[in-house]
Symmetry: C2
Subunit: 303 residues, 2 copies
């Protein structure tokens, strides 16, 4: 990871945490009668401010910056995307889904609070992501706000994250063994939001079709490389360093590029997607150096 | 219930079912590899097309009509509102929430499919509600689309439905005994979406502030009267006729206007809200006759 990328990533993480914190603070002072609603906000903040690399916010902010977008606005879009990502983690961790007790070393939301609160906190985060995007404070042009909503909804819906999670659960019952089926699952479950994060930055900045398409293609291939390196880490990563349970895929009998092609084969495929991602940045010249670094950092990813 | 209201309600129900059916059909033909995603769409359709009075769609369509809105557009908004309502039912029925096995005499989604599919189908319906509203097919003016998204998100989020459901669950552990606490719970859990259904019709039709406010106030008071008559039906209703388990509130020790003021006292309060609702329609003259009938039909509500 280049020093400038590490610095930029940390800066975006701090900024987006502050933005999310402000968006989720707005009702924390509720009256005593509202103690239960205060609890819902607390669960939302617990989930959304639990750390994490904030890769999606970084992609939104960087893509917007390349296209001349304003940082204060792109941070709101980044916060909305991260709320969407967070809701999916909260629901995925539920007993009926992946049944995880820990995330980033901390109790998952349904363990820290309870299952009902976790379901509702996820629902509320998902709903608020759209509230943030539709708010005039995110962009004065309603056409851009409506397009941001539409894109996030498509990335999150049955053809995106929600459908991908269902495929992932189903894959434990009847494993998929085709590369294209694995790729489809991953491009729905995680790829759609990565791709949209990049495109959203361009949309916010009012960029043209060419910019949008290049950033989208960057995001698609970044997302695939990210997922493959995630699977590699699951095989060889250090539990303490990554903050995750490792070896889960093998236990669950989950087909991944690693189980199908071995570690070296998977690395080669990841590198191919990183190359395609980076090639899509040529159009932007040096302005895209940070995104270039972000993609190349996946090669020696350790966390 | 007046004959003209019964006819109009049935017509909207048929139209909005057709609209929802089309919106949720779009991927049902998926390839064999997508059998699991097809299953998600099937669960969404099962939940969203299970009958029901379609009161919220009726309010959207009627309010839009009064303000000169187009039926084909208001049906899309009505479909989005009903998807939002449906998602909340699917999640509220989950074992960790109200733990209901039957809804309208049929197995709930998590019983018919499984819990994970029910959670994801709810998530996907919620997400698609925003997709429908943000789609240019819903209105050519992006300002209206963005405002529809914003209003639905506020009605659904932590200060609306999601927060109200949490209060409702909490009220079983420590019952609320103040009228204003009961009213706040109900205005969040069900009132916010009723109020927004009415206002959304005005927004879609590009109506001014006065129209919006009157329709919103109509919706707020209609919603309160609806909820109180719902509690009355829970006490005296017929399980077969209503298609619901009756007497649930008492078993759960839930404080309602009925438990606090008795049946007659609750009826008086409901009538007061119906009067306020109807008074807000004076502004529109005869054009609002159907909404007037809708509110007055709550007086002798049997289902």
């Amino acid at each position: 990871m280049s020093a400038r990328y590490a610095d930029a990533l940390a800066a975006v993480a701090a900024d987006v945490d502050a933005t999310i914190g402000t968006l989720l603070e707005k009702n924390s002072g509720g009256s005593a009668a509202d103690a239960d609603v205060v609890n819902l906000w607390a669960a939302m903040r617990y989930a959304a401010l639990a750390g994490g690399k904030r890769l999606r916010p970084f992609l939104v902010v960087s893509a917007a910056e390349i296209c001349g977008g304003q940082l204060d606005l792109s941070l709101r879009v980044a916060a909305a995307v991260e709320m969407m990502h967070t809701y999916s983690l909260v629901h995925d961790d539920l007993p009926a889904m992946d049944d995880d007790n820990l995330r980033r070393g901390q109790p998952t939301v349904h363990k820290k609070f309870d299952e009902a609160t976790a379901i509702l906190a996820g629902d509320a985060l998902l709903t608020m992501a759209f509230e943030v995007l539709a708010d005039p404070a995110t962009h004065p042009d309603s056409l851009i706000r409506a397009e941001l909503v539409l894109g996030l909804a498509r990335a999150g819906g049955p053809e995106g994250m929600a459908g991908g999670q269902l495929l992932d659960l189903a894959a434990e019952r009847h494993p998929v063994y085709q590369d294209d089926a694995i790729m489809r699952l991953q491009s729905m479950k995680t790829g759609a939001l990565f791709a949209w994060s990049c495109e959203a930055g361009a949309v916010l900045a009012g960029a043209g079709e060419t910019e949008r398409n290049h950033l989208r293609e960057f995001g698609v291939n970044y997302g695939l490389a990210f997922q493959i390196t995630d699977d590699i880490l699951d095989e060889i990563g250090d539990a303490v360093e990554t903050g995750k349970t490792v070896g889960k895929d093998q236990v669950r009998g989950k087909a991944t590029f690693v189980s199908r092609h071995g570690l070296e084969g998977a690395r080669v495929i990841a590198c191919r997607h990183i190359q395609i991602a980076v090639a899509n940045l040529d159009f932007f010249g040096q302005k895209a150096d940070l995104l270039r670094d972000a993609a190349e950092s996946l090669i020696d990813r350790r966390v």
